[in-house]
Amino acid sequence: MIELLNVSKHFGVDIHAVNDVSLTINNGDIYGIIGFSGAGKSTLVRCINLLERPDSGQVIIDGVDMMKLKPQELYKARTKIGMIFQQFNLMPSRTVLGNIAYPLKNMTREQIHSRVKDLLSLVEIPDKINAYPSELSGGQKQRVAIARALANDPNILLCDEATSALDPQTTGSILQLLKDLNKKLGLTIVVITHEMEVVKQICRKAAVMDAGKIIESGDVFEIFSNPKHQVTKNFVRTTSNLSKIETLIRDDSPMVKLKPGELMARLVYIHADVSEPLISYASRTFDIEINIILADVEIVAGAMVGGTVVIFNGPRDRINKAIEYYKSKDIRVEVIADAGITA
């Protein structure tokens, strides 16, 4: 278990990179820390393995107070906390074998060779053992970096923007690998990212960071379906098609031109269960037209999140009844535009 208690780290006098952060990450979790660049998330993750020593607060890993360790003990503790980076940080003068062998100690040549081979098949690039990093693609480099980080059987893997330098397809395959490793090895994974997509794909829990503080944390599904803080809302919006409606309105698209009596609203599903035929049921029951302009439903942490943008057309009292019905079903209704009641 990783426990950060009131951790603060300042650079210079007035830059509070991390400001009084408390965080608990359970064993076996995949925990996301998301924030825009400069939010302090990279500094925060470096406080876990003390690459950055906090100015105040406590860092406790599996009951051990990291800040109280002597240098030699700290070096040893770090071998049990793997870390991978955005720029991979492989040593260019060493082959894949040399890179992965770097953290291995007190082993014979044969033992090292077989350990490296095992690690390479774990990260699914068994035939690259003698290649130099410059001969590998980005995704392969990150796989070697993961193998190197896992060389000493760590319990924790810290990922600092590990997929930010990769294309979307490679990102997907690396995330899948991390997910598999989490399952196979029971590895606790901490993922630092500015991409909501990454959190959505692999994290079970997440914290949103802004200006050195954690402003929201909890289950990923909860954060996605019901963001409370403005920064979180912005993040969620970056991944949702529903925000495109604002662009359409700004561009005065004919698609969103309302006729008199019409009302445009965003319906957001907050509940995990969206299997009911909500649109057609309301349309039939209240005898109104419901025109779907945009729809976006996604799978987050194994549950559905999303909604639709619709235009209601019909007598206003019946539209209001439909909206009441949706609210009773735990669907958030945000009126975007209202053309007023028909004369």
């Binding site: 393995n49 690459l51 240098p71 030699q72 070096y75 040893k76 503790a77 770090r78 071998t79 906390i81 793997g82 870390m83 980076f85 720029q87 940080n89 492989l90 040593m91 260019p92 003068s93 060493r94 770097y102 953290p103 130099y132 990093p133 410059s134 970096a145 190197r148 980080a149 060389a151 000493n152 810290l158």
Partner: protein, 222 residues
């Protein structure tokens, strides 16, 4: 040969001795400069602000001392260090007497070269090594020195060549060597052929060092 290089051919033994003296100065001073420069360059790198063994006191003192010695013209250093030379080497003349000023003249230069070679090491590699549990000493030997082998070889090349320039001046305190040979005969007695031969020998020497340096640097770049 006799006709083409009349003055040189009459002084061949002296010429060979001059070559040998230059080589002797280069090797002895070079070896000592290498050791001290490497150590100082590493100390500068790790103690500077943001370094892995940050120590403002040590860094500032070393930094200023190096600047001090780099700003003293070598010809002044040669004479100013005579007492120290006598103390350490027992004499202030001949090849023995010039090793101390050569070391003082070239070490600051080489330290800076090493500092800038090590500065080319990606900070991310250092961070990765620390995250894998490397101690600062391990980072120095297994990351800094290993990963900047090519720039270090280039730094050695440049320093050997600049040291060659300094040995030429060492003739001023009676150390002998090719520079001294060229001044005494080529310049003072207007024996043009000697000047030319010395220049050609030095050009060949510099080219060889440069070529070897580039060869090994390339071999260590992946």
């Amino acid at each position: 040969m006799q006709e083409l290089l009349p003055n040189l051919m009459r002084r061949l033994p002296e010429f060979w001795k001059a070559c040998g003296d230059t080589l002797l100065m280069e090797v002895w001073a070079g070896a000592i400069v290498f050791v001290f420069g490497l150590i100082f360059g590493i100390i500068l790198t790790v103690t500077k602000p943001g370094g892995i063994m940050q120590n403002t006191g040590i860094y500032q003192v070393l930094d200023k001392i190096i600047n001090l010695f780099r700003s003293i013209p070598f010809i002044i250093l040669l004479t100013a260090l005579m007492p120290l030379s006598r103390f350490i080497m027992g004499t202030a003349i001949y090849v023995r007497g010039v090793i101390v000023p050569l070391v003082f003249g070239a070490t600051p230069f080489f330290s800076r070269q090493i500092e800038s070679a090590l500065a080319q090491t990606d900070k991310g590699l250092v961070e990765a090594a620390l995250s894998m549990g490397s101690s600062p000493m391990e980072v120095i030997f297994r990351v800094y020195l290993r990963e900047s082998l090519a720039p270090i070889i280039r730094a050695i090349t440049i320093t050997i060549i600049s040291l060659l320039g300094l040995t030429a001046m060492a003739g001023a305190v009676g150390a002998g060597g090719l520079g001294d040979f060229a001044i005494r005969y080529g310049h003072d007695r207007n024996m043009i052929d000697i000047t030319w031969v010395v220049v050609i020998v030095l050009v060949l020497g510099v080219s060889l060092v440069q070529w070897l340096g580039e060869y090994f640097a390339r071999k260590n770049t992946h």
